[in-house]
Subunit: 323 residues, 2 copies
């Protein structure tokens, strides 16, 4: 007398529920064991046609849904503890579900973030996936957006703008750039690389941090506003991948578009000068690239981006907004 979704959950998702607190997904709720640590809670949804494209492979959709949340945990200095999943499906296509669940399970294992529970519902609309992820930090040690101080160095992990270019390629196609470079950009749009390994260094050294998901310029503006400061960023310091440099050279996008486009899922943080060497060394030990791109200044207003010729750059929009 099991209902349809119960069988689907048992078949495809129970193997991912490796934590004892998940009770094999046969109960109504999961348990996260009490601890002296604070539990960091973050929730991010991805919607077909908004965060991924219709026809994207189930594997990349699954990975993106989890990874955008892991990116938040990393930026807050938290070690992953588990996640719950709401899956709103038009139809229960078992092949699709199998590939989705397998990829999700691989990432859950890779990032030590087991599935704790969830809800599978039907929808007449687009495929939508909402994840709530949990992480641990020592009590009182979550890294806030609001701690940046004048003089702090502004750093960002990885590279910026690849996902914006990847989405442009998927939407509009292009004959420019090598196939390998194009595929690298598309891969970055579809499957972000959450900087989980840098979480401890962020917790140890950063005054403030957040993940870059809606555009570097807009997200830095949010961090500055929450901290009551502003920032001065050198545009030529913003780290770009070789593929993104090709895209810029071929005028696929402007640098302004790259720093205001979404889906980077890199960690943006501010570190006091005195801790900079220790932070960079800790990041390098974890094989995460982190680049100093500017400095926090006292004052208010959005951060100023300075071009290679020393002029402030005007941005038409600073970030992605849903409304």
């Amino acid at each position: 007398m099991s209902s349809g979704e119960d069988e689907l959950i048992a078949r495809y998702f129970r193997p991912l529920a490796t934590d004892p607190g998940a009770f094999g997904l046969i109960d109504d709720a999961a348990i996260i064991k009490g601890s002296s640590d604070d539990l960091v809670v973050t929730t991010d949804a991805v919607v077909e046609g908004v965060h991924f494209l219709p026809g994207d492979p189930p594997q990349t959709i699954a990975r993106k849904a989890l990874r955008v949340n892991l990116s938040d945990l990393a930026a807050k200095g938290a070690a992953p503890a588990g996640f719950v999943l709401t899956l709103a499906l038009r139809t229960a296509d078992e092949n699709w579900l199998k590939e989705f669940a397998n990829a999700l399970g691989e990432d859950a294992k890779l990032f030590a973030c087991p599935l704790l529970g969830g809800d599978t519902v039907s929808t007449p609309g687009p495929l939508s996936i909402s994840v709530t992820a949990f992480g641990h930090v020592p009590a009182g040690r979550m890294v806030r957006r609001s701690g940046a101080k004048a003089g702090d160095v502004v750093l960002v992990t990885g590279t910026i703008g690849d996902a914006t270019l990847g989405l442009a390629l998927l939407k509009h196609g292009s004959e420019t750039g090598s196939p390998a470079a194009q595929n690298a950009l598309i891969a970055r749009y579809r499957v972000p690389e959450p900087r989980v390994r840098i979480a401890a260094a962020v917790r140890e050294h950063a005054h403030a941090a957040m993940d870059v998901s809606d555009g570097l310029a807009g997200d830095l503006a949010k961090l500055c506003k929450a901290s009551g400061v502003t920032a001065e960023i050198k545009l030529e310091r913003v780290p770009l991948s070789p593929a993104a440099r090709v895209g810029l050279a071929k005028k696929l996008a402007t640098i302004e578009a790259l720093i205001s486009g979404g889906d980077d899922y890199e960690v943006l943080c501010t570190v006091p000068e005195s801790s900079l060497a220790a932070f960079l060394s800790a990041a390098a030990a974890q094989r995460v690239e982190a680049t100093a791109i500017g400095v926090i200044r006292s004052g208010d207003g959005p951060p100023v981006f300075i071009s290679a010729t020393g002029r402030p750059v005007t941005l038409k929009r600073s970030s992605y907004s849903h409304f």
Copy 2:
């Protein structure tokens, strides 16, 4: 340089974020303070056209989205601690959002379950709301589905079948029954009454519990299966509201339909005979009606429902399934 959704969140949802761990919704994540208690985590989504009807008032949609999760917490014996919200909207209609947020805030206060965080995204599809709710239980004391033992009394709170009749009235209309009775049934479909006040009694006395959301018969079958037992239920003991009795008499629905329809959001639990008086007394002290409807038997297979004439009743389907 705030983006649209940030302004909407600040205007309508920040007032609900009364817990210090929510950081006024200006950070990327929330904190649930460490404690020796276990944290119970449950997630349930509601989708327009599936769990509520297009055109339902924003107030009732908000209340239902939160309450279906509070119902899970109550059934697990947990005291509410907070929730996160994912809101997928076609458009940002500020009047709608204001009414939605106000009602959500009233319920958050009523049930002592503050908003901790969330994500607001655009969708080309139906309005969808996913809530993940958190509750506290003393370590190891979450009430499982799997603890029922032969001889336990099966109890259910409140009344069964009202929401099924309410949905039928909304979908097909009817001239039967008084307007007041019809409104009562519709109200039960739109706004469940989570039995939060019975959580402590469930934790103290029940061997097994779950909330009834997909139909009494099917949900009891799940509880029995998880516990490795079966059950014998007396159909005439299943508690029905006066309005549901009118609906039955007027043949709006059969009793079989009422015990296999969804959206009851009552607590189903099994209590050993020796604790029955104490459980009923604790429930009464909290002004929650609980009715003994049958008994757990050793064996397997779905529970048997016995009619007033002593015959087992055959159910065409035992519960709502999305697929």
